[in-house]
Subunit: 455 residues, 2 copies
């Protein structure tokens, strides 16, 4: 076999990089479970019928077929494709199992997803996502809009504190706030000054704020949609509001626009921001230009940047949707937020900016005197494992210097010599001491690989 | 959306079933890591070129294509297919990254695999596997043949003790033992009585022992291969030997065949069986009819049954291979064993024979007095989470009876009332006591869902 080359867009890690990923996944799982989210996994494939319900997205789908499929198996609605996110499969799972689930249903799902894109620099074709959603039957109280982002922020904060990952900053908005504000200006409002203008058309143009700037947006709003300069200016002013606390409320009020839906949006956004300020201070801003997909989210919306790594784009996004799925009789509203694990970690791991300090889980290498006494070394290892100390036995009864080198190459911090009552050497400091395999413990921080992020 | 139907061969679990799977995966991961195996994951796809290296297997491959692929993208050697096991991708990973890995390289890999089979009762098309392998560069000491099965047996034993899964019984043999025995009879041995007969042809027929019985095998060996009745009889006698200890050695010796390779095989098998008897007594037998794939394994081979569930077939198999991969200059010999997680759990979970006692991770439901004081309940929940107690806050300030019912439906054992100094009720016993959210702990066994297997 010639040496194979990596496939563009399908990232794979060496063991020390994979350890970073598992450390992150452990934090995600523990945080989600502490908040009562149950794990589910869905199959990797969905019928094309399920996947193409959203139309446009089909161009990114990987179709899956049996190599020796009969002609009769091809081109049917039940052809299979790899899922491209975890929302579509989750919606299908909820519909399929609704009778067996207790609502509101809180689930987390950490799985690979695939996008059938052309190979292209920086584009992943396989990547790992971690989603949480809370889904109700017919109704879902709005306090879940407050909870969902706090759970993800709690996980991101632990990654920052425990693994040295950059700080996260979540940008939050509420679609009702903008919608209510526009309606208060008479846009799309029956009897209003701009009754014929669609609020989504306004939102779509305001969404370009970051790219083209406020003045250009005003031109679009007046030129293309026929808003007055004053109304257009207010729409842009609204989009420019971004505060780390609830002072956005006064700033919006100062624009002098009134509408019931605006009040609703302001109050809900205020609750989200205040709760975040209590629980994870400094990690959330009310950012009134955030829109996220135009026809899906209906309330709170979230986007998240890594401070100092803004060019990664949003690593964690989500929001409230009024209908995850519906069978015509029952509707399932929900609120959720998704973390792009590979988007977050892939570049840092590949560039070696973050890594574990060893390539194996072992905290101890048990040296072997000679092959005749390998059993003794195995016994020591078993005693250590019985007390949850990861270890391995040296592969060969080489000279001790060579066995220490074996540990060193892998970053294993301790080497054990002799039997159950032996000696253990910390190969970083060179310290060697008598040790009893039934009581000795390495320093707690040596039990697991340490993750370090370059400064 | 009409209610979707399950896809045959793609198992999915409800949350309480998934909890069984995660409990098993936790045991596997912990056991593997305590033995120094590093986690890796490989991408779900390989090039068809890599997948079809083994010829025949191609009929079970799922081909993966972009829905809107250009014509130029199709039918090339770099077409992609879903991996059908974890060995082929691992071999490719080792070749691709050999320069960055430290050998002997110990890795575990727990991932889904796919087989593009026709839908068929009881056949999985997507399933979860857990593999461990130890791979050397050019050489790999034989003591790893002893270690690999013990690691898997240790994990299976924990599943038995901690989760109530059936006992495992591993059947072990050594390919050198049979090969040496046949050569000792003069089969395929230069100058031997049956020099022209291929030992693999003998093995292939002896492998039918279980299906057609000893007498029929003797007929095949004499009729088709031209062995003497005596030699054929000895081959069949060898295959009939199965002992829970090393008494198989004397039974083989009693057949009066001698060969250096036989001695080697006997000694290695003896070491495996004795080590297993020390570490996990009663869970391994030397079973001299076990062959496993004819042209792949070269030394020790393993198969594993669940006692009382033999019809599941082997849930965990593997062995020694002299060449996992080779680039012509360097060869990578290894020894590994694979557990079919879905094969093991799928039927039991689907039939509800094993399940968790709750459908959520939460050990506590924090009740809400009224919506005005939801913050107080959130504060209690945060205090409990700070001490790693999974909990959730009631979705609605319903009457307490209704909130208790909410907990009961999910199997949440405890309900908290009031603030940080509140009261907690064990809803199974009805006991209610004062509790301080900064110190109260539920009984340790309530912290995680309990898995129970029906008797």
């Amino acid at each position: 076999m010639a040496r194979p080359k990596p496939l563009s867009g399908f990232p794979e890690f060496l063991p020390a990089g994979r350890m970073v990923e598992t450390a992150v996944l452990d934090i995600l799982r523990e945080t989600f479970e502490l908040h009562g989210f149950a794990s589910i996994e869905t199959r990797a494939v969905e019928t094309m019928d399920t996947l193409t319900r959203k139309g446009e997205i089909t161009k990114e789908v990987y179709v899956v077929r049996r190599l020796h499929a009969d002609e009769t198996e091809q081109g049917k609605a039940d052809d299979l494709g790899l899922h491209f996110d975890l929302t579509v499969p989750f919606a299908r799972y909820v519909m399929e199992n609704a009778g067996h689930l207790a609502f509101p249903f809180r689930r987390y799902q950490i799985q690979k997803v695939w996008r059938g894109e052309r190979p292209q620099e920086g584009r992943y074709r396989e990547f790992l996502q971690a989603d949480i959603d809370i889904v109700g039957q017919d109704a879902l109280p709005e306090h879940f809009d407050v909870e969902a982002p706090l759970v993800m922020l709690a996980a991101l904060e632990r990654m920052h504190v425990e693994l040295g990952l950059p700080q996260a900053l979540m940008h939050v908005n509420n679609r009702k706030l903008a919608e209510g504000f526009y309606r208060g200006l008479g846009i799309g409002e029956s009897g209003g000054e701009f009754e014929q203008v669609n609020t989504l058309d306004v939102l779509q143009r305001v969404d370009k704020f970051d790219k083209i700037g406020g003045e250009a947006v005003v031109e679009l709003l007046t030129g293309e949609l026929g808003l007055s300069a004053e109304a257009a200016g207010k729409c842009v002013s609204l989009a420019g509001i971004c505060t780390p606390d609830d002072s956005f409320v006064d700033q919006v009020r100062a624009l002098g626009v009134e509408h019931e839906m605006l009040d609703e949006g302001l109050e809900l956004l205020r609750r989200v921001v205040l709760a975040a300020n209590r629980r994870v201070p400094g990690r959330m801003v009310a950012d009134l230009k955030i829109a996220r997909g135009l026809d899906y989210y209906t309330g709170t919306v979230y986007e998240t940047e890594l401070v100092g790594h803004e060019k990664l784009g949003s690593i964690s996004s989500g929001g409230r949707y009024d209908s995850l799925a519906s069978d015509g009789k029952v509707t399932f509203p929900g609120v959720g937020i998704s973390l792009g694990v590979t988007r977050l970690l892939g570049p840092m791991i590949s560039k070696g900016r973050i890594a574990a300090d060893r390539s194996v889980p072992s905290a101890v290498l048990v040296a072997v005197d000679d092959e005749e006494t390998r059993d003794v070394a195995e016994e020591v290892a078993q005693a250590l494992r019985g007390r949850r100390i990861p270890c391995e036995v040296a592969p060969k009864a080489d000279k001790f210097g060579k066995q220490i080198k074996h540990a060193d190459r892998r970053g294993i911090p301790h080497v054990w010599f002799g039997g159950l009552n032996g000696q253990v050497k910390d190969i970083r400091s060179g310290d060697q001491q008598d040790a009893d395999a039934s009581t000795w413990m390495p320093p707690a921080e040596d039990l697991r690989p340490r993750i370090t992020m370059e400064a």
